[in-house]
């Protein structure tokens, strides 16, 4: 098995970019009202636990990807079929995220460009990078991580200097108790974006510095959670719960409010750059994991060959997943987390852990 040489720094960068990808744009956890940020906090705690689960299985089979140990644990046939389901899941997720970004660009700037053209441009770039290999993607990630942090910080400073942040908008905390917060955290913020780390179970065994992989993942996940919590807090404080919860992309509303001395204004590009970079990585990684999974299942030697057909599938699927934005969002926030994310991100991995644990017990006794 070939090893991908990427440093801890690069891994850290791509995990953060992956987590922030699409979650930064959509109003995450707004069903919890003013406590949306608390819902993300809870989601993060759940996500960390989940990462521990993935880490546990990974430590048992440090040289096998998800599709590999599925066959080892669940038996050859059942494991293979579940592996195939995961492959489809990754393709589907990549298509969904691609759609998110197509829609975002369409709404915010390219209002007459057909969606297929926007998505096509994105997928062509992504395929090119993936064709060059995962190391290229990782190096790009390392560089763009700096860009995203710089633009992010600039954006935050500008929002503060505009004097539009009013903490009163976020108070009272826990207005309606913990119940709505839990409801928003499980399943939504827990599975999206934190649970989506399941994609990395396909990547971990191929990385060359296995000892630090999990440590780096925990850290990267915590940083992305902090950024998400802060951004959500900022959205709520700047434009208020009402607009945050009603708008399609709350972050764009907040950044649109930036106005310093009537001179620095209309700086929407800040949010758009951040989002395009994040989206690029999210689609790329999901796309790549899908390719890896398929290559592993069907024993394809040269996985570069899979990039082109997969890109076409993802592109067409991204256009087909929903008829309109409303439908797309409803699926993403209501149907997908409960019926697709939960079983695949939590259910099956937990099952694997239990099976592995029992087997170990039986073997030692």
């Amino acid at each position: 098995m070939e090893k991908v040489k990427i440093s801890s720094k690069q891994l850290f960068a791509i995990i953060v970019l992956f987590e922030l990808g699409s979650s930064l744009v959509v109003g995450l956890g707004v069903s919890a009202g003013k406590d949306a940020w608390l819902a993300i906090l809870l989601g993060w705690i759940g996500g960390m636990a989940l990462l521990w689960v993935y880490g546990y299985i990974f430590r048992q089979y440090p040289n096998l990807p998800l599709t590999g140990y599925l066959q080892k644990i669940m038996g050859k046939y059942v494991g293979w079929i579940i592996g195939l389901i995961y492959t489809i899941y990754f393709i589907y997720l990549a298509a969904r995220v691609l759609r998110d970004f197509g829609e975002l660009l369409y709404i915010s700037g390219y209002d007459l460009t057909p969606l297929i053209v926007i998505n096509c441009l994105l997928i062509v770039t992504i395929s090119y990078v993936l064709h060059k290999g995962f190391e290229v993607l990782a190096r790009t990630g390392e560089n763009l991580f700096i860009v995203i942090i710089m633009t992010g910080l600039t954006g935050i400073l500008l929002v503060f200097f505009s004097g539009i942040v009013d903490i009163k908008n976020v108070l009272p905390i826990l207005e309606k108790g913990w119940k709505p917060v839990f409801k928003a955290a499980f399943p939504v913020t827990f599975t999206f974006p934190f649970g989506e780390m399941v994609a990395f179970t396909m990547l971990f065994p191929y990385l060359n510095n296995k000892e630090s992989v999990l440590k780096v993942s925990y850290r990267a996940m915590s940083l992305s959670a902090a950024i998400l919590i802060f951004t959500t807090f900022l959205n709520l404080a700047a434009v208020g719960l009402n607009i945050t919860s009603r708008s399609t992309f709350p972050l764009l509303m907040t950044v649109g409010k930036i106005n310093i001395a009537n001179f620095i204004q209309n700086v929407d590009f800040i949010s758009i750059i951040t989002l395009i970079i994040g989206g690029f990585f999210k689609v790329s990684i999901l796309f790549y994991t899908a390719v890896m999974a398929a290559a592993d299942l069907f024993k394809v030697e040269k996985k570069e060959k899979l990039v082109l057909p997969f890109s076409i599938i993802i592109l067409l699927l991204s256009l087909q997943v929903a008829n309109n934005l409303t439908e797309h969002f409803n699926e993403g926030m209501k149907v997908v987390p409960l019926y697709i994310h939960l079983p695949l991100q939590t259910g099956i991995p937990l099952l694997l852990v239990i099976v592995v644990w029992f087997r170990k017990r039986l073997n030692t006794v």
Binding site: D111, T113, K168, P172, V239, G240, N242, R246, M253, K257
Partner: protein
């Protein structure tokens, strides 16, 4: 082989790199600086007027030599929605309207009174061109169209000028509040506070104001003046806050930047002018079973700006006296604003939101008939006023004027 490859790649690039999908050149855009909404002739119709910047008249250097046209002009069109009017205007205009630089929206007073403002702001949220940072004003005593029709001195484009005036007066006089579209929306949808919008009127003859000759006399025939704060209930204009009431409102709302407080001294009414430099207010709510009490605490600081009575400010008793009457004066204006709001049953201060923050459970029960409860609530105002320094002089010269004997 290589040459062939190159040709293929370049042909593909030729199609890909043609530029933007629906490009609009600058010369095809009409940049809108402000727009006004009046009632249309038919029922349910709005008359929307757009103020469009005349680019050649605003270029530096050219304007002074040419100067034939006005710096901005307006076009009107009717529609049941604003966007309909935007597109309909194309019949009259050689360029397409472009909204990214819009700064002001003016709403007709009659329209605000009779039909309300609830339905006017969707476009700002939905469109990616229009911004939530646009300012909103109510045209007072005239139609909204005339406001943006004005030709103004000092700065050219009346839409921008009006916003600048609003900002300037909010800063040094604090009788008006700068309200942006999202503030209005948040006010409209909130149960615990109602929106306010400042007013603008024409001081002079509106007909004169739209001509370029408005600029050709030193005593400008018509001027735009920011005036009053409009209050709304259920999206309909119910009354105006003016002068002291408007200031009182700003005090409670913690928006008081600086203003002049007029006070009496022994001999002369209104002989002392205190310049406020700082003011902070905090509102606390006390919910009892039968009654709600609000505590409004105001802390303010000021300097003596002008003093036309013989008081020696080097003595601290005199300063204490001034501080005391400053507090009384402030309280008077604050109470007038509160009385007005309670009489009209409009919670312009956001007292409801205070309860919501402090006692969410009580608010759950109260929010249904909050407007009625608000008018019955007791408001206790406490003002702490400090006068920090008397300026460059301690004793006013008035005190030194020798008494002439006939």
């Amino acid at each position: 082989m290589k040459v062939r490859r190159c040709i293929v790649i370049f042909t593909v690039l030729l199609f890909v790199l043609t530029g933007c999908w629906n490009r609009r050149e600058l010369s095809d855009l009409a940049i809108v600086s402000a727009f006004a909404v009046d009632k249309g002739t038919k029922e349910n119709e709005y008359l929307v007027t757009f103020q469009i910047i005349n680019p050649s008249e605003n270029a530096t250097g050219v304007a002074s030599s040419g100067g034939k046209a006005t710096p901005a002009f307006t076009v009107s069109e009717t529609g049941t929605t604003i966007f309909e009017a935007i597109r309909k205007v194309s019949k009259k205009l050689s360029r397409q309207l472009f909204f990214a630089h819009i700064r002001l929206m003016v709403i007709n007073e009659e329209l605000a009174k009779e039909e309300g403002i609830l339905e006017l702001f969707d476009l700002f949220e939905r469109s990616h061109e229009a911004r939530l940072t646009s300012n909103v004003l109510i045209a007072r005593g005239t139609d909204a169209k005339s406001i943006i029709n004005m030709v103004t001195p000092l700065d050219n484009i009346s839409g921008y000028v009006t916003v600048k005036k609003l900002e300037a007066t909010e800063k040094v006089w604090s009788e008006n509040i700068k309200v942006e579209v999202d503030d209005v929306i948040n006010g409209i949808v909130s149960l615990g506070s109602s929106p306010v919008i400042s007013g603008v009127r024409i001081d002079g003859d509106p007909k004169e104001g739209q001509k370029k000759s408005n600029l050709e006399s030193t005593d400008v025939p018509a001027m735009l003046e920011i005036s009053g704060i409009a209050t709304f209930r259920g999206g309909k204009l119910v009354g105006w806050l003016d002068n002291g009431k408007a200031k009182g409102f700003m005090w409670v709302k913690n928006k008081m930047n600086s203003t002049i407080v007029r006070m009496d001294c022994k001999k002369k009414k209104g002989g002392v002018a205190i310049e406020l430099t700082e003011s902070k207010s905090s509102i606390k709510a006390e919910v009892h079973r039968k009654k709600t009490i609000f505590h409004v605490d105001i802390k303010e600081e000021g300097n003596v700006a002008e003093m036309n009575c013989p008081a020696d400010l080097s003595k601290s008793e005199e300063i204490k006296k001034l501080e005391k009457s400053l507090a009384i004066e402030t309280k008077k204006e604050v109470m007038s604003a509160i009385n007005f709001a309670q009489k009209k049953k409009v919670d312009i201060f956001g007292f409801g939101e205070v309860i919501n923050r402090e006692d969410p459970k009580a608010w759950e029960k109260m929010k249904k008939n909050w407007n009625a409860d608000f008018s019955k609530a007791e408001v206790k105002v406490k003002v702490e006023a400090y006068i920090r320094r008397p300026g460059m002089i301690m004793k006013p010269y008035i005190k030194e004027v020798p008494k002439l004997q006939d």
